[in-house]
Symmetry: none
Subunit: 250 residues, 2 copies
């Protein structure tokens, strides 16, 4: 059974490869998100039955990798990370991860969870992984359409000029910007930006979205998806869907 391990720490990876190998897994080790996405492109080998994804050092990189994986493949993903906070858990699961395991974990439990998701695993789809060059890799401060988001400093600038945002506005924007194009449902937004489990009573969300739009002054950036939620428009509205260049028929 093939398994893809995404982990940048060599020592951790080596240990996992050893243990997993002893339990009958054929492990491919990817050291970066880019390498992982490459590895997932169908190449005639058996498809991977499960992906172990470490949300490693580059801050949000792991979430983006998960989103990209999910956009192109149905392979089960288990996030493994030291980040135990609820926000991260919920966000990871909402991005399409099948499980979320925090360090330190028990090896036996991890194995059991791997088997659980593999057992449920998807039939390999014919869909190719996203072409690496159509979607530019966004790491560190997100930059797209002239908008720059510095998560550490909590600063946002549009075309160079600084835009002061309040907490909620920033959290909201930061959430949506983690996966431009992906629709975030209202409940998801509430459980990640507000205290989880809280139901927005009034028009709270709309008001914050409104002021966010006003301050950013980028019409069409934040798009409402009626009855569902909101999303960020990543590219200019020219070609929204990525053109399928050379699609490998299976």
């Amino acid at each position: 059974m093939r398994l893809l391990l995404v982990e940048d720490d060599e020592r951790v990876a080596a240990a996992l490869v050893a243990v997993l190998g002893r339990h009958g897994f054929q492990v491919r080790h990817a050291r970066s998100g880019h390498e992982a996405l490459d590895a997932l492109v169908p190449d005639g080998h058996d498809p991977y039955r499960v992906v172990l994804l470490d949300l490693g050092l580059p801050d949000r990189d792991g979430f983006e990798v998960c989103s990209r994986i999910r956009a192109g493949s149905g392979v089960p993903v288990i996030m493994v990370t030291a980040r135990a906070d609820i926000r991260s858990r919920i966000h990871g699961l909402n991005l399409g991860a099948d499980d979320y395991v925090t360090k330190p974990y028990d090896m036996g439990e991890l194995l059991a969870r791997i088997h659980a998701v593999a057992r449920r695993g998807a039939a390999p789809t014919a869909a190719a992984a996203p072409a690496p060059d159509t979607v530019p890799q966004q790491r560190g401060p997100l930059e797209s359409r002239g908008i720059r988001i510095d998560r550490e400093r909590r600063r946002v600038s549009v075309d160079g000029r600084d835009v002061p945002l309040t907490r909620k506005e920033f959290d909201l924007l930061a959430l949506l910007a983690q996966s431009p194009g992906v629709v975030y449902r209202r409940e998801q937004i509430f459980s990640e930006v507000w205290r989880s489990g809280w139901e927005g009573n009034g028009r709270t969300l709309e008001v914050h979205i409104g002021s966010l739009r006003t301050k950013l002054a980028l019409p069409g950036l934040v798009e409402a998806v009626r009855g569902v939620g909101y999303r960020l428009i990543a590219e200019s509205p020219a070609s929204a869907g990525q053109p399928p260049p050379a699609r490998a028929e299976r």
Copy 2:
């Protein structure tokens, strides 16, 4: 989306039913393992999409209930329990549970995990034998006949052209596309795309099907099955790569 809650504490159950209901689940509450197993017997209703199983039931051991459920059905099971020890976790997962959540849990995380396992869900057939690969459930972006459905972005494109769809239209298409070729009965469609057991009085469904056909401009894609419901034609009608196995005649 139907959900089976197995919980003997009335107060806990009531709270969960309320929250889950508000999040779009149609919850059936079973107070014992026996009742749960009864509820899971196929009865013509839509199958449950996920089971929330509280260990520590009065009449039976929760593990045994899980094992029996798994013996008769492929429905995803989430164990919810106060027993946090590693042994129990591993045991539960190895018995076929899809996830194992310990109390106290965060409501937002539980919801995210419910969605995660439901997303990965079981075969929609009511057949007792859980054969995961007999019914090909499409994951990731569905691509067939030039039509591409991106669930998390809620985008549909036909031959590269982006086709804007409304909520109902998209949900309808996404549902039918889950298993191309399989006939979805009207009641089934209503309970999945709409809320609760609502018997569409007027010509609602036909209208939405109509606009879906118009927008997609793929004649013959959505096929009406007289007196039963609708289905998607997977491949061009000439050479059927695979004969549709499960035919739902009444």
